[in-house]
Symmetry: C2
Subunit: 418 residues, 2 copies
């Protein structure tokens, strides 16, 4: 029997995967159908315990590193090869859903269970990782486990992070029994794949089952301040006003126009606004607001940066009101490795799923993995594009499809022992 032919027809067990998702979602379940399982809490421990028990039952070994990342390993024929890794996170937002992160971890487990069912040996080992504190809801920074693994910051920095009660990451890792001994990053990765709900509306809007993720948008965060002159709304004629809000409103609209000037991936959002003195009959003297600009490459982010600064300078000159635009944070754009993107695309096509190329607008653990190894992501639709919300939902057939794509992309990279 030709091994390649036999694995081509291989499919994961969608019902088993769905069942695992629902069982994990019961830990920290909220009345509205969501999940609250914050990083390094007792509930996170219960989630980790369940997932690692399942892994051991599937014959995998479990390694925990010093930041609490877990690596669940299925040996290959050649264990000198770096493992082909998949994974995500099992911590959630305070009012999170059942799928964000959890799907990526349990899809990896389902891949292993499927290989076990069919007695398939891979050339390279396969590993399923769960990364500590991806959400950043309890401890900052976000993507803490994968970030520490990629040495984006020091372990000491992560350890010292405290929650609102003053408890530290290090103390909580120890308390829940997930303070391992392996040095984060001292762990080879041959390639990395991550399945995830899209957290946006594009796949649903286009009626596609699979998003072949080519990269993650770069992000620039700015604080913007327009300074005018407070004055009484009654006695001050229009021509003699220095209305900070009116100038700010123009710039807010230009943030969106700037995104439209840099398609297809340009994004511009004003999410936060503070008006001073914020009184009904006083012309605003000062308006502070946030700008969030995103695009698919650093070059495009640079272009948008220059664009919005130019617009702000023009509006300032036209109005005579000072406008301060200050960059406060940035996350570089990530392009996933062509080999991984193509492995995902090939698997999707072979499986016959409707699909499209996608970019991720939000950060994921895969962004840090892409610094260390070829990486790629697989998106499936989520209902109305909503996540970080208890109403977060996904269709069982999409859950199954994404996992089948993961299976075949990993098999391509790991190689099937003949």
């Amino acid at each position: 029997m030709d091994m390649k032919t036999s694995t081509a027809t291989l499919r994961i067990d969608g019902q088993r995967l769905w069942g695992a998702l629902m069982e994990l979602a019961a830990i920290g379940a909220t009345p509205k159908g969501g999940v609250c399982r914050l990083a390094l809490t007792e509930l996170d421990k219960q989630g980790r315990d369940l997932v690692t028990r399942w892994a051991r039952e599937a014959g995998m070994t479990v390694t925990i590193d010093r930041i609490g990342n877990g690596f669940m390993r299925r040996p290959g024929r050649n264990n000198a090869l770096p493992p082909i890794v998949t994974g995500s996170h099992i911590d959630t937002q305070p009012t999170g859903g059942k799928f964000d992160g959890n799907y990526g971890v349990l899809a990896g487990l389902e891949v292993v269970r499927t290989l076990n069912d069919h007695g398939i040996e891979t050339e390279a080992p396969i590993e399923v990782a769960f990364w500590t504190n991806e959400e950043g809801s309890r401890f900052v920074p976000v993507m803490m486990g994968s970030g520490a693994f990629a040495k984006a910051f020091t372990l000491e920095h992560a350890y010292a992070a405290t929650d609102t009660a003053g408890l530290t990451v290090q103390g909580e890792l120890e308390r829940i029994g997930y303070l391992g001994t392996e040095e984060p990053g001292d762990h080879p990765i041959g390639a990395y794949f991550e399945t995830h709900i899209e957290q946006g509306p594009v796949l649903e809007d286009n009626g596609k089952t699979i998003g072949v993720v080519t990269g993650v948008l770069g992000v620039r965060w700015y604080d913007c301040v327009v300074t005018g002159m407070e004055a009484h709304a009654g006695p001050t004629p229009m021509a003699l006003r220095k209305d900070a809000l009116q100038v700010a409103a123009k710039l807010m609209q230009e943030v969106v126009a700037c995104a439209h000037r840099h398609p297809p991936h340009g994004r511009g959002t004003v999410g936060m606004v503070q008006v001073f003195p914020n009184s009904r009959n006083v012309i605003p003297g000062n308006v502070k607001f946030s700008i969030d600009l995103r695009n698919a490459s650093e070059a495009l982010c640079d272009t948008m940066d220059a664009d919005i600064r130019g617009v702000a300078a023009r509006l300032s000159a036209e109005s005579g009101l000072p406008i301060d635009v200050k960059l406060v944070t940035s996350f570089p754009a990530t392009q996933f490795h062509a080999d991984c993107v193509e492995a995902v695309a090939r698997a999707t096509k072979a499986l016959g799923y409707s699909h499209m190329e996608a970019v991720s607008g939000a950060g994921h653990d895969a962004v840090y993995m892409a610094k260390l190894a070829p990486a790629g992501m697989i998106f499936i639709p989520c209902k109305d594009g909503i996540s970080h919300n208890e109403v977060e939902d996904a269709q069982p057939e999409h859950i199954t499809a994404g996992c089948n794509v993961l299976l075949h992309a990993m098999l391509e990279r790991a190689g099937v022992a003949s």
Copy 2:
């Protein structure tokens, strides 16, 4: 000697008036040069005591009504005639200035002192009023004393108003000794004049000394809510957003455009904005903001109302986002009586002061008086158009000029006994 000729050369004593203003301003003086003399406080009592002492020293009788309004009367030759009244208020904002209100009262006192100096008897009596709680800083509603006098609301309603400590207007009037017995409104008024700093920048901008006030703008206050859909700023492409802030920003600019479409007195202000959830990386799902529209007649206010509602309906149709525009308060426009406006204009021209017609954008006690009798106002410039602020300032020569105009306008209405 022809009496008309003799009063034509009559001038008030600018130094005495300035001195009275500075002496009154010492009661509640703030370190930054302003005044804090909130209505019905111990300081307000001290201010009232000083002003009524000066009035009695000038031979006037003092009547206090049940809302604490004071009427300081100089008899005429024919005391069956209704008095020609001037006045304003002596309470201030918490960080108020020396001139707002206080000028109007002390200018009236200076008119009487000047008539006394020259032994001039008027036909009709002359009265100087101080109206309780014009500012509304401590007790709501604003313009309480003149409003109760004009029966815009009941005395019981005013009495029941409480400050943040729970103290009532009635209790505080009693405590400071200014709970009189005369029924508010049971007091004839032949004509009413009020001198006031402009509280806006128009006179200064035009280099004019006197504003001949023709009326007070009508005001419409609205609450406006745009409802969109909250979504993550990263994964949501521009075309699939329902960004409440972007639609709100357009409507905010239309508020100003609407004012410009209805010159010369149309005014449009957005002073207060609340964005939900007001998070940097979340597309706003809901934006609430205030709209303040003003114009010189009810017809023009109605036109602006229809204009902004039409624009909101169009923006809602274009964007697909519901926009709710709700009228929450309105103050009708006031046209001052031609006889009083012309008396002010004639006096100004006879005195040779530079002048222009003006409308008041803010409310004044004169608005309520205009419901009861012919009324008019005299504006003088204030520095940078700023009031309700400790830096509020006015030039002594303008203070003098406004009082000279008041003198001659009142003499015209009261008639000089020959």
